[in-house]
Symmetry: D2
């Protein structure tokens, strides 16, 4: 089935392979009247670029985005926003060594069985490069959310076993370090750990946390379109993610109910919670407090250490994967996670706009 579309009212469709002509995305359903230009999209996209990040692939892509439609005189028109990013720095021959090999930890085998054919160059559609399309779409979502007073931020919460608590730091500094960890000390330790991984021809995993501020209570569509359900799907759809947590996540299973429940209270006209173990979502609906989600990324499967596997003929073989691979995907996945969360939250906010007859009447003026 057509699996490259996500969203209902705000709908994102991506295409493109690592070493094909280019990547692209269609953002359909963006409300009209929002300022948007290539410079802004580019700026967000650049946060995903390997750039001079020592822990990222040496592939040097400009990742220049072109808006082909949906924007007129600097403003969204309500029609689909088509964007294209051409591939430039392709070293397809790097992959001749693995064209017949099913790499461990990769989708090679699944693609081969599923489709009978696969574009082996750089992982084809299963490449992390595919996420550039998501970030371009996420940038649009973030821009629109901004108009609604909603912000989505993300950062590297852990690399290997080095974990930080964001509440003690300023997220604005996250991008000052190539690890995208907003804690200088931890970032330095993580950097050393990653250098060791590179030296060992190995790779590492980690956790990205996203915080969404400003979402009003009431967003999410039970019972299957719950906000946490949609967020989980969106984050788990990123390659390398193996777990998703909402609020305190896995930690809640060891608690008593009396510890885990967040008490509501009011002060003035506003409703607050004494704690936020729930991560801002109860029964699949936002409760007006910060939404907190985490995605757990496995170590990059492409490593240059020798591994045992099979080839397309079904023979047992040994490989060392060459090419320009990231020893960890997490720092570059921060903006990708943020994008998937933004896309999901915006769609949910738009859907919630018609939950009550009184709100629906408002929109008819």
């Amino acid at each position: 089935m057509a699996g490259s579309t996500i969203g209902n009212l705000f709908r994102v469709t991506t295409f493109g392979e690592s070493h094909g002509e280019g990547l692209g995305v269609v953002v359909d359903g963006a409300p009209a009247g929002v300022e948007l230009d290539e410079e802004y999209i580019q700026e967000v996209l650049d946060r995903r670029k390997p750039g001079n990040n020592p822990f990222a692939t040496k592939r040097n892509e400009a990742d220049k985005v072109h808006i082909l439609s949906g924007v007129f005189e600097g403003v969204t028109t309500g029609t689909p926003i088509g964007m294209v990013i051409y591939n430039e720095d392709q070293h397809s021959k790097d992959y001749s060594g693995i064209m017949n090999v099913m790499r461990p930890g990769h989708a090679d085998y699944g693609y081969k069985v599923k489709y009978g054919i696969r574009d082996y160059r750089g992982g084809g559609r299963a490449s992390g490069r595919e996420t550039a399309s998501r970030v371009a779409a996420g940038a649009v979502a973030k821009k629109i959310l901004g108009c609604l007073g909603v912000t989505v931020s993300a950062y590297t919460k852990s690399i290997g076993n080095i974990e930080i608590d964001y509440s003690r730091f300023d997220l604005a500094f996250a991008y000052e370090d190539p690890t995208v960890m907003p804690d200088r000390e931890a970032a330095m330790a993580a950097g050393e750990f990653l250098e060791k991984c590179i030296k060992d021809s190995d790779s590492a995993g980690g956790v990205v946390e996203c915080i969404v501020k400003g979402v009003p209570a009431g967003v999410g569509e039970p019972v299957f379109g719950k906000l946490d359900a949609e967020l989980s799907r969106a984050l788990m759809s990123i390659g390398a993610v193996k777990a998703v947590e909402i609020g305190d996540g896995v930690a809640v299973t060891g608690r008593y109910g009396s510890e885990n429940n967040d008490s509501f209270f009011t002060r003035g006209d506003s409703v607050y919670k004494a704690s936020n173990h729930a991560g801002g979502i109860l029964g699949g609906i936002s409760d007006g407090t910060d939404i907190i989600v985490r995605a757990h990324f496995k170590p990059t499967p492409s490593i240059s250490k020798e591994q045992e596997t099979i080839n397309e003929k079904g023979e047992n073989v040994r490989i060392k994967i060459k090419g320009r691979h990231d020893p960890i995907v997490v720092p570059r996945a921060v903006v990708v996670s943020e994008s998937m969360v933004a896309i999901t939250v915006l769609d949910a906010i738009m859907i919630n706009a018609v939950s009550k007859i009184d709100k629906l009447k408002l929109t008819l003026e």
Copy 2:
């Protein structure tokens, strides 16, 4: 938006509130030619019943399922299967005490803000009772999967901090204990822990693990309809779930790539993996090995301990929740989780049926 539908080719739509007339589900897209009757559905549904389970609500519902359509002479006809379960043992007056109160850990507040009105009786649509519809649909999915050689099993992996490793036990025994833990010793300890929770007017959480056997490689639709993404959404849509893991889940972030990759190898004509950290899914596509997913459930939010919260007028109040509540949802959620996994896997298998032109040709005879 209409959030009560899940699935594409195999599509499930549920309705019903805890204390309304009844619950129901429409299963649309079930392939024709599969034997199905009420007795079988009932048998699966009964695994969700509180019955004589000491750790479950005392509400005594027969949960008798009625098939209204889609089955003719004991066989599915390809038309939608409508099923209804009438509510019988409703003690709506139990809820008069909380009708104006926003219970902590519940969706009350979100529903109120979202819709302006809510059926406060027993949580209305947000009640765990809603999952009866899911189990009826899941039973249909499991029946069809059975025809395809696919089995879905689940069990209680942990209650509070008591955790078991299923590989050492026989899942067939899971239902012999009210905890649905297939390890007699652990089950006994868990039982004692739950009795303490009841005595303390408190509640507990836990983990359900599902294992799917027999799914061929190639199932799942990148990049947004990946099999793990769809499974995450399906499981996270169950009330009380706060985290979902695929394979080794959160554990992978602390590993090296060389530890985490599963090596492929062949023996005879078959492809195997030396380990299954990935939980049977790589790049969002099944790899032919067992699919393993876990859902983390928070402690039941309804506790009879006194809690602080607000009422509908926005006043700060204190409540003790009365009524007939489960001190833990996990044992009854086992079959619910299993159902959501079955629904999702079947839909994905059906979609994958047309991935290649050669397969599509086969179906045209």
Copy 3:
């Protein structure tokens, strides 16, 4: 695929066969806060009943609707509205004569090839009886549209070759005649024509026209979700419909552009059109004038005249179809058409609520 669901934000899923346990429908996405009760739904449903209509089947069904969910204290709650109508007056044995026969003009052959099995009793799912579910859902849609100042009306425009021009009559009188033609003289002629059809063991076709008033300009989602495209799909999904027209429909092909264009003009603050050949929709978007659509129904295929056809073994046979069939479906299809139009228009209005960032902001208060 699951073909029994229509709509996006306002989503309708039906189930049920002519001679199964019952029919039903789930209306998901209805905005909360709208008054609704069984009496009102019943009243609309009764317009579809054969009743004492001499031109309708003698099958005598009470078609009593039961609301199972989604309504609390007389008001919609935003949760799915499940409704069931039990079958009562089934004469399944009437069908023993045709159980192995593929009736001409019916879906028997298609169902048999598609599913390998079919519920032959009364056409099973392909029966006109299935439309009771649509009407129950349409009643909900009409109720909500009423809150928004939108009305949907329909009437019999033609029976056989007897056609009327509704602008000369009062639609309110349509239901005074069993033909649902709001022109007494034409209705009488049509009645005589239908009596002749019955005497001749034959059947007749006709046209239903729907007029929607009060839809603001701007509704409809180009390029594939255009309002006229969605209306066409909705009407063509009614059994027996073979053509759909918007506005002047087929007549436009013989005109010059200068004749067919509707001039806009303003008077005071309002925009008007000098004519409405377009039927209120331009480029797939409503233009604020009356929306006019027509559905063309073929003659009832069940006739008691002898016909040639084949049986399930593939033998050539002759049949005379017995049972209780309508000599024309049009009068009973009026409310069905109206329902499909109401469902479609409401969904489109809800979707349009988020077309502009300013409107979206309004809904966030």
Copy 4:
């Protein structure tokens, strides 16, 4: 809502405006293993080009298609096929005269009210130019259908009041005349009629008929995803279409059932029908005979005759529309209609692949 996507398993998403950077389309869900290249797509696209057609716009676009993804070594890979067509010959200044005017018969007014902003250049998204994306997608669908033994052909059935009966001619010759009418005599008369329209600063309408051969019985998903319902939606979504007919369409309403029913009969092992008034679809499911549909196109609304209308300020004004417009859209709409039919039929065939458990088993090997 995101209205620019159509299809379920075979899903098409388009973007682009008449005078923006370019047009594009994402074809997601195409089965892997089908030969495809730009030359073939271009060839189909060229049938939509104004070229040296005297009855088409003088805008001279190369309409060169670029495949950006989804094809590897000349074969589809199962991943989304992204295609882009850049705009080149834009004379945006042609539109300065109408930038503030709501053209009669156009979507200008609807877009303005809906979105608050519109790209007035050449109609923006509402331009007929948008259909280039549909044709590129339709070419892919036709290629895949070819592998399955299904062909979709279309031709101009009428221009103004000049109508032909295709059964007497060879459709292969349709493209030999700029009218795409496969009847030399009628084509000549139509040509003269169109020259008169041009001379009179006026425009004309007409009918396109599509014939689909080779679709097996059983395709179509009752009750809302019926094959005729989906075809109606697909064709009505083309700008300028005001009516859709299946088989004998509007003609059936004046007939007796005994005249309109198509008798089945068998000869050897095959099932035939003695007539095909139904147009190959009964009860929304294909019956194995030719599928016949017609789309009725209104006269081009852009005419250079003076017309009365309003401007964006709401003032009554008079306009003569300049620019390079087609006096009739029908000949160029033939391949567009064919494309929409091909997309719809392929999607329906793919969905039908899992209608029976036995067929589903086949695809699991």
